[in-house]
Symmetry: C2
Subunit: 419 residues, 2 copies
């Protein structure tokens, strides 16, 4: 075999690789006339090639043993591609409408071949910056999260299946550690990697590092992240890991997947929608004040949680006499008890969601990796204003999350900060 | 090799095994004159042989692929011996004063050779039934728990070490499932295995199965047990897993070990002391009303938690600039913050301890496996009275654990139920 040991591919060697790989060459009917290959990786970590021929197409994603946007000075196991492939297949099996199909995986090469999400698919974050409404977004994302999280939890699985899967994903520890560092640690200490819109936010960044209550709360969330194997989470579910059209919603890039707290995924998605909301004022102008768009974003945030709640508890009801071992039917088979059990579970999950969502927001404002929503606002003082409002809300959510009873109250808090 | 595949040993084949095993034969200087072997397994699961020669001694524990006290009809992996050996070595390394040394482990034979805890060592439970005071018990057990739990948690370990160890102990899933069933499930449903002092406790057993709040709370504890990898816990730390003399305290039998919630161990130990307390009235008589002994038990319970708290937080303080990744020094390095962080952590741990302790008490009264503390009370109506008081307290602890602020309040509640 031509590729019996790892090597980084480029546009040329990729063709040789495809020719040697039936599961890929068959996708383009083995015909290489008019084949076009383009590297498009705009993500932070990996290389992504789009392969389009008249007869078909696919995407090749390869992990190199370091973090792409930083370089070889920050090594990172290429085994992440393995966990990404396993998660894509697992989540894809549970929710095929919203996960691209995997055609091929090569562990030696840390390489995944998957469906090309053809235009007009774009990265959701870019759509949000452009002010495009996606009427099915909340519906689709709540469906994706409800199904992937429910079916990989002990609400559906036996302990035997659960512990086997937990053990396997313990292997993705390097990626977990990266999250621990950039989400739960660096923003709360002096770190060479941190940055923010300076000098505007200098005092805000200081305040984050000096806020004892905030640090107390973020420690609790970090413990949950490190210790609680609740479900197979995506692990990086921001708006840059979702590709969309008007009708289609596709979740990509689960290389951070492991058994962790469900609220980390739901919070990542909702937290990034909240960032998109606070960035809108920086995109307003030329006769578009983004007011209507902001209303749509608020509705989408509210709908995402409420639909998730509805779909998740519906799956629970449907499967309450199934093989899940958390709540045995012989014990929890009365409607009143089933109701209070679900209410308690969903309440904790809601508070986890707000806490993790807030932590993900904070790190995007004062940590190493920022979001295009804010970065694309050219005027620094306007950007800083947007970021400060998002930061203020995030701190409130993180510290007072247990006081929030519904997503409606979060929306109210957002409006209040905004005004 | 004579024992290249698994076979259950008996007194005779054990001699051949010892002769073929240098790490064992050397313990008795290879001299077999006057060698005595006695099977003493009074535990529920395994076979234990005491091997004593003039020149030395040891104990051999062998796991068979079923549960001893039930028989071959309840299969149970003999791989539990592997996890017991790993836990004995790990905990023994952290706290050698209170864990018997392992001389030999044979995975094929599911067989452990370890130090013989020679007389006057007896099982603590038997000492408690006999009304014997152990003045160092709280000191020793708090030391054992503080060291084993602290050093295997993220307060001391890196995430990398933690996830590797968690993954390995996921393999002990069959034993975890046994706990899930007999502690968290069976007592709350109709099960062929359940029993209780009938007819006296018939209504009490019904009440457990019909108590929605109790079932709601026990579900939360079960989730923690299944999902939260906080430290390498012993997993079966009742008073039958501790051997004592006046001066020595030795913890045996960690075959249920895995990465779980710390409160499960602390609760098991304290819960079983509480059972011992409520059993005392059944042992009173012949001029000994056990009043003084009950006072000692209450003091021991109080001291166990308070000393644990003190030792655990002292280890934390000592190691706060170490390699533990839960609370990085660069973030948590101020005394005020360190204090509130510890208070929060210890408060949650206290409530976990009460909850798990209560669950362990309940299962010993209405579940499959009872305790000799009660079983040795011959008069059924007296026994039932003792058990009912213990059950009443346990239900309060489980449901209202978050209202308890100190162990002193638990002692008060015990006195109140008792009077
Ligand atoms: N299946 C796909 N179809 C189309 N474009 C894709 C696909 N997968 C990735 N991309 C493009 O490549 C970019 C980087 O991919 P991603 O999986 O997020 O990599 P990284 O792990 O480096 O962030 C995405 O933002 C998207 O533009
Ligand atoms: N190291 C030892 N020294 C002396 N006696 C022991 C030792 N280990 C076990 N025993 C005796 O064997 C009994 C059963 O051992 P244990 O490890 O609790 O087995 P099981 O897993 O079957 O409960 C103990 O109650 C104790 O009496
Ligand atoms: Mg990406
Ligand atoms: Mg990625
Ligand atoms: Mg035992
Ligand atoms: Mg037990
Ligand atoms: Mg045992």
């Amino acid at each position: 075999m031509a590729f019996s040991e790892f090597r980084p591919l480029d546009e040329n060697s990729l063709i040789a690789y495809i020719k040697a790989t039936p599961s890929l060459s068959s996708e383009i009917s083995d015909s290489y006339d008019g084949l076009e290959i383009k590297e498009v990786g705009d993500g932070n970590l990996n290389f992504v090639y789009i392969v389009v021929a008249p007869s078909g197409s696919f995407v090749i994603k390869q992990a190199l043993p370091y973090i792409r946007c930083i370089g070889e000075s920050w090594p990172m196991t290429k085994e992440r591609a393995y966990f990404e492939a396993v998660a894509l297949k697992e989540h894809g099996g549970l929710c095929p409408q919203h996960v691209p199909q995997v055609y091929h995986f090569d562990r030696t090469m840390s390489l995944i071949g998957m469906r090309y999400l053809e235009p007009p698919h774009i990265i959701l974050r870019k759509g949000l910056i452009a002010g495009i409404q996606y009427p099915l977004l909340a519906e689709h994302m709540s469906e994706y999260m409800a199904r992937t999280l429910f079916y990989t939890s002990l609400l559906f699985r036996s302990t035997t299946e659960h512990k086997r899967a937990v053990a396997e994903f313990c292997g993705n520890v390097e990626l977990c550690r990266l999250t621990e560092q950039v989400v739960f640690s660096d923003p709360y200490k002096v770190s060479e990697y941190n940055r923010w819109t300076s000098p505007y936010l200098d005092r805000d960044a200081d305040a984050v590092r000096e806020d004892n209550v905030l640090k107390l709360e973020v420690a609790e969330l970090k413990s949950k992240f490190c210790e609680r194997a609740q479900a197979l989470i995506h692990g990086d579910l921001h708006t840059g890991s979702v590709m969309v059209t008007h009708d289609s919603t596709q979740v990509i890039d689960p290389e951070f997947a492991f058994y962790g707290p469900m609220g980390f995924d739901i919070g990542a998605f909702i937290g990034n929608l909240i960032l998109a909301f606070f960035a809108q004022d920086g995109h307003a102008g030329q006769g578009n004040d983004r007011k209507i768009y902001k209303e749509w974003l608020l509705r989408t945030i509210e709908d995402t949680w409420n639909l998730f709640h509805q779909k998740f508890t519906a799956l629970w009801d449907e499967n309450k006499n199934g093989s899940g071992e958390a709540y045995l039917p012989a014990i929890y088979n009365n409607p009143e008890l089933q109701k209070i059990v679900q209410e308690k579970y969903m309440k904790e999950l809601f508070h986890d969601t707000l806490g993790f969502g807030a932590a993900k927001m904070i790190r995007r404002i004062v940590g190493v990796a920022h979001v295009e929503d804010f970065e694309s606002i050219k005027e620094a003082n306007i950007r800083a204003g947007c970021e400060r409002r998002a930061l203020e809300l995030a701190k409130t959510l993180l510290k007072k999350r247990r006081d929030f009873v519904s997503i409606g109250e979060v929306i109210s808090a957002m409006k209040q900060v905004q005004s």
